[in-house]
């Protein structure tokens, strides 16, 4: 045990370099900074918008329209100009980004139920995220004006019936059914909530697998490049301990790096999406449908993630042996990256159940697919599928570790390498 701990300490010390710490801190700060920036931009865009209004009609109808806009939280500033051109010029020189022009005769025309145009001017001063949000302001303004006008028409013509009853005579009560449970609520809200809650699982998984694998491959490649592997293989310690120490150290450092990146990434995402807090109504529906990961669910998901990481580390050990130096190690991470990206994208963009059988078999054959599928299966109580996935990963891990230990206990650890020039494995 003393020898193993000695080796493990060395491996961790080799991996945790100033460059790694610097890169982690830099990325964390960058994510945090971008997140805060996006948050303040979003807050600015969500604040009540100032709209300059040039009312050339000056009728009760046009005044009613502008009052309606004020009532739904727009700040209406009358444009101090005699005509449209002067108003455009005045707003262009001011910090206001929107100008609404109501033409003369507007009130009279709409009173005769004729459609009339109002003119909208959006002053684009940049192409940032807030500028793109500005483009939607007049869409909501016009929608609000149309709603107001149609309600007014209906009130004039059919005073005894509320306009809402005329416009939307059919209402619905939505129910969501999951297995033997049902609850009143919107399927869209539920799906959005579950997606929002589980969006980080695949990202965390992908980052941990890629980081840890990269570290194992690099650790072995560096031993080869620095000519330390031969010496290490002649010290009195079991070869399997060398493999285990490298896997464990890389797993721990990979886990820590991924955790730091994820905290930073969460700050970044919150800047764009907000805190994803859910209303009490949706929360009750979620609970009633059992769509909350309880302690058992987290443990099962953790076990699934753990074996996926072990599989990745064992595969990385074998790939690391193929590396001649640090440079070639960078290329050898690619198979692991592809094997992680396939289930990662499938989990985001496709429904596994609707895929064709050959594609399903292909996906299930990738050990890293199982934790990606596990979150949904746990929420839907498909525990058998999760258990089979874990068993499959255990089998793959045993196979890969056996292969890695065998490679390390034979000449192949020194003689096996991938020669890019000839594109073949030399044993």
């Amino acid at each position: 045990m003393k020898k193993f701990l000695n080796l493990l300490t060395k491996e961790i010390r080799e991996l945790v370099t100033l460059q790694l710490i610097g890169s982690l801190v830099f990325t964390f700060v960058l994510f945090y900074f971008i997140g805060q920036l996006a948050k303040s931009e979003a807050a600015r865009a969500a604040a009540p918008q100032k709209i300059a209004a040039l009312d050339l009609d000056r009728s009760d109808v046009s005044r009613g329209l502008l009052d309606n806009l004020r009532s739904i939280n727009y700040i209406i500033e009358p444009a101090a100009a005699a005509d449209k051109e002067a108003a455009v010029e005045a707003v262009r020189r001011s910090p206001v980004n929107f100008l609404l022009v109501i033409p003369a005769g507007f009130g009279e025309a709409v009173s005769r139920f004729e459609t009339r145009e109002v003119e909208t001017y959006t002053f684009m001063r940049s192409f940032s995220m807030s500028a793109t949000r500005n483009s939607a302001v007049f869409r909501s303004v016009i929608a609000a004006l149309n709603r107001y006008m149609s309600d007014e028409y209906l009130k004039q013509r059919i005073a005894e019936i509320p306009p809402e009853n005329l416009k939307n005579p059919i209402k619905s009560r939505d129910f969501v059914v999951i297995k033997d449970r049902q609850a009143q609520g919107s399927a869209g809200d539920i799906a959005g909530f579950v997606f929002g809650q589980s969006i980080f699982v695949p990202i965390i998984l992908m980052m941990i697998i890629i980081y840890s694998s990269q570290m194992v491959i690099s650790a072995i490649a560096m031993e080869k490049q620095n000519k330390t592997l031969e010496t290490l293989l002649t010290v009195p310690i079991r070869r399997s301990s060398i493999v285990t120490a490298k896997m464990l150290a890389s797993g721990l450092v990979g886990l820590l790096s991924a955790a730091i990146y994820m905290v930073g990434f969460r700050f970044y995402m919150r800047g764009f999406t907000g805190d994803m807090r859910v209303g009490a109504e949706v929360s009750q529906v979620i609970e009633k449908l059992g769509l909350v990961l309880d302690a058992k669910g987290y443990i099962i998901l953790g076990v699934s993630l753990f074996f996926a990481i072990l599989c990745a580390l064992a595969l990385a050990i074998i790939l690391g042996v193929l590396a001649e130096d640090f440079r070639s190690a960078q290329s050898l991470i690619m198979p692991v990256v592809f094997l992680v990206l396939i289930p990662y994208f499938i989990s985001f963009f496709a429904d596994f159940r609707t895929l064709s059988l050959p594609v399903k078999i292909f996906i299930l054959a990738i050990p890293f697919s199982h934790p990606f599928l596990a979150t949904q299966n746990i929420l839907l109580e498909n525990y058998q599928a999760v258990a089979l996935g874990i068993l499959y990963m255990v089998a793959v891990f045993i196979l890969l570790v056996g292969l890695a230990a065998r490679i390390f206990s034979t000449d192949r650890v020194l003689t096996m390498k991938l020669r890019w020039g000839r594109k073949k494995v030399v044993l």
Binding site: K10, K227, E230, L233, P236, L414
Partner: protein
């Protein structure tokens, strides 16, 4: 004298290439035994097999009575190996590297300190041991590695080109250290291209070419046999 290492009919093939074609030799306690030969003769392959890095295709290697195939761990406990192009962990300080290696062999803290004290003497790097290995010159790394190989006073030390990368002064110093440790009972198996070095260091020499030992004996015996003034001429004559 006690026989420490016995190599009998050792063969090694890489696919169709036969690197060793049945070599045999013995190394006794406190003896410095050298393998000399051109590049690709099979010297490093033989050293790597004895250091348990490669497995033999055929033949038998025993070390203090332990068989290489059956008990490789006994070899690792009592043999230290210095490869020709060895390096040390660049992110570790010299002292940390020596501590790391000493802990694999020491049975107590006191023994570890004894190893480290000896390593400091051999390396002769003084205060530089507290700096990272990445800042060392090639010669400094070589001395650090030699200190690592000898600090545990192993029963057998395998040195592949021990003075590789060292200047004349450091080479002389290293040769003296090897001689001193051999006098204290450590057996040394080495290979070198430097015939002067071999003549100065070795008690016995084996001439190896294309995986075969052409001849072996003391430098004096070989020079006498081939009527040659030095080992270079001996080697050339043996090749004919």
């Amino acid at each position: 004298m006690t026989m420490v290492l016995n190599v009998e009919g050792l063969r090694k093939s890489y696919g169709n290439l036969e690197a060793l074609k049945g070599i045999s030799f013995q190394v006794e306690q406190g003896e410095i035994f050298a393998l000399i030969g051109p590049n690709g003769a099979g010297k490093t392959t033989a050293l790597r097999i004895i250091a348990t890095l490669l497995s033999p295709s055929d033949g038998r290697v025993t070390f203090l009575g332990h068989d290489l195939k059956k008990e490789p761990e006994k070899f690792r406990e009592n043999i230290s190996y210095l490869p020709e192009e060895a390096g040390a962990y660049r992110n570790l300080k010299g002292t940390n590297y020596l501590e790391f290696m000493a802990r694999f062999y020491s049975r107590s803290a006191a023994e570890e300190q004894e190893f480290l004290g000896r390593a400091r003497d051999i390396a002769g790097l003084g205060g530089r041991l507290k700096e990272k290995v990445g800042t060392y010159s090639k010669g400094m790394v070589r001395k650090l590695l030699l200190a690592r190989a000898l600090m545990t006073k192993p029963a057998l030390t395998i040195l592949d080109e021990p003075t590789s990368g060292l200047d004349v002064i450091n080479s002389l110093e290293v040769r003296e250290i090897i001689k001193r440790f051999a006098r204290e009972g450590i057996s040394v198996l080495l290979s070198s291209h430097n015939m002067l070095e071999i003549e100065f260091l070795s008690d016995r020499v084996a001439l190896i070419d294309q995986g075969r030992i052409l001849d072996q004996g003391t430098s004096a015996q070989l020079k006498d046999k081939y009527q040659a003034p030095n080992l270079e001429v001996v080697f050339r004559s043996a090749l004919r």
